[in-house]
């Protein structure tokens, strides 16, 4: 019989055998590799980036290897790991006379009746249970995996797409060149705005399947309309290219959208583009929450931005592109022509 009281007394004895040195090495390695060519950073959901969180479980040391199968079967039946199924049940130990550690159950389960009735036969088979910190969530990236196994062995199924995004080699050189060219155009528009004493922000919408520019714009929020942010204008020019549009822009605005793409078959022609479906947006500065949500509504596929902004909604304050509960998500990459984009705000007093 395991003694429940003893266990609770030991609950404060938390083993913290993990160290963060491997974490640092990996980071440094990445930074070195990309020093020559700063790569586009994917703005991923926090679940991929968070450090390993731990939870306490009860662990016993198995005194004799030959009892492993029996104990394992017993524990698996009586205490399925449920939310902790990423954990391996057994951890090999280097100590000679205590070769194996086995997870009994989580702390919550230990409070229940079942735990008190635990009977694994001979008492001498197991040590007194003690508390150990183990990773709470399954690792989603190699970095999280390497950190997690410092605590306890876990299983890891690497997401190839996420791994590729984090590798820094997700895009080919050709693609990166094309992206830079489009961002350069956005920078030009931002410079134009700056020359007109407007907020120095430029935006370009591109159809990546044809490399065609659908719309380009610069910010005009300090003009007649506080909502005329570069992204909002660009979205409206995209709508105009599809025969719609909500705003009238003065001719003096150096704004541009492709000619109408209306079909002779009428509005129900399925070959016509639908909002920003499949399109990329290049914008010199991280969008605000209004613009980020406008891009959700518009079904944009990818957003590339240069500089981060204080209250930005695509990485800084929020990650609206991966917000749970919304009906559309998009990919976001930051740091494209970051230096050029940062430079736009030099000597600009009203940076928001």
């Amino acid at each position: 019989m395991l003694n429940g009281t003893n266990m609770l007394n030991n609950a404060t004895d938390v083993h913290t055998n993990a160290n963060n040195s491997s974490h640092k090495i990996i980071k440094g390695d990445l930074a070195d590799k990309n020093e020559s060519e700063p790569f586009l950073q994917p703005v991923l959901d926090d679940v991929y980036l968070r450090p390993v969180e731990t939870v306490n479980v009860f662990v016993c040391t198995l005194k004799n290897k030959k009892d492993t199968a029996v104990v394992l079967r017993k524990f698996s039946e009586d205490f399925p790991l449920e939310n902790l199924s990423h954990l391996k049940r057994i951890k090999s130990s280097k100590t000679k006379d205590a070769p194996l550690q086995i997870i009994v159950c989580s702390l919550e389960v230990a409070d229940g009746e079942a735990f008190k009735n635990l009977d694994i036969g001979e008492e001498s088979v197991l040590s007194k249970p003690y508390c150990v910190s183990v990773p709470r969530y399954p690792p989603l990236t190699r970095q999280q995996y390497l950190e997690a196994i410092q605590y306890w062995p876990v299983s890891f199924h690497e997401d190839k797409h996420i791994a590729s995004l984090l590798s820094g080699n997700y895009f080919t050189k050709e693609e990166t060149c094309r992206f830079k060219r489009h961002m350069m155009m956005a920078v030009e528009y931002a410079k134009h705005a700056k020359a007109l004493s407007k907020e120095p922000i430029g935006a370009v919408i591109v159809d990546p399947s044809t490399d065609m520019v659908i719309a380009k714009s610069h910010d005009d929020r300090h003009g007649n309309h506080p909502l005329h942010h570069a992204v909002m204008i660009c979205i409206d020019l995209m709508a105009r290219s599809q025969g719609g549009g909500m705003w009238k822009f003065g001719k003096e605005c150096d704004l541009y959208s492709v000619p109408c793409m209306q079909s002779s078959k009428g509005d129900n022609d399925s070959s016509l583009p639908y909002l920003c479906t499949g399109y990329d947006l290049f914008v010199t500065r991280e969008p605000c929450v209004m613009c980020a949500m406008a891009l959700v509504h518009s079904r944009i596929q990818r957003v590339f931005y240069g500089s981060s902004s204080k209250d930005g909604a695509l990485g800084t304050k929020l990650k609206l592109h991966v917000q749970s509960g919304l009906n559309h998500r998009y990919q976001v990459f930051k740091g494209l022509l970051e230096k050029e984009c940062d430079k736009l705000f030099e000597n600009n007093s009203n940076q928001t």
Binding site: H225, P226, L227, D267, Y274, M290, K317, Q323, G325
Partner: protein, 171 residues
């Protein structure tokens, strides 16, 4: 106070019903300034092929025009205005409303899909100083009527959505 809200909300429902007739998501709104409606809006997304053409954005455009014609400063007018809208403003509109500096928003039902005043996130109160002042919200005014309108709409289909993207209904 409640009765006043109902009075203005009645007006917004007429706009929402109009939108429904036109095949748009049935949302209507009105800006009330010094005890009178100065601008109204209804959803015009399909008409403009711009998914940002929500009732609130339409009405904001109209207030700006109204101020322009009278030579009033729009910041001053928005600050003293209340927005009445049949459905909780979405995240985008909540962001827009902070930027124009409105101080009070009264709405009918919650917006479970896109709500920016508590349902998905709380843009109206979030710590986003560069976006402008936070604003106060009163929700749940004539909820049932707003919900019924949305139900009527979602029974039908979005006529602007391409065939391939339409959901196959199991019913």
């Amino acid at each position: 106070m409640e009765a006043v809200h109902h009075h203005w909300m009645e007006e917004t429902f007429l706009l929402a019903e109009e939108a429904l007739k036109l095949g748009e998501v049935p949302v209507g709104c009105a800006f009330v300034y010094k005890d009178q409606i100065i601008a109204t809006g209804k959803n015009e997304v399909n008409e403009t092929k711009n998914a940002c053409r929500h009732a609130e954005i339409v009405a904001i455009d109209k207030v700006l025009n109204w101020c322009d014609e009278r030579g009033d400063k729009s910041e001053d007018v928005f600050r003293e205005s209340a927005l009445y809208v049949t459905v909780e403003p979405c995240i985008m509109c909540a962001g827009a409303l902070r930027q124009i500096g409105v101080s009070l928003v009264v709405y009918g039902c919650k917006n479970d899909r896109f709500g920016g005043c508590g349902s998905i996130i709380s843009v109206h109160q979030a710590e986003l100083p560069t976006l402008g002042q936070s604003f106060h919200c009163i929700g749940g005014v004539m909820t049932d009527r707003a919900v019924q309108l949305l139900k009527d709409f979602y029974k039908g289909e979005n006529p602007n959505c391409p065939e391939s993207k339409r959901k196959i209904k199991s019913e």
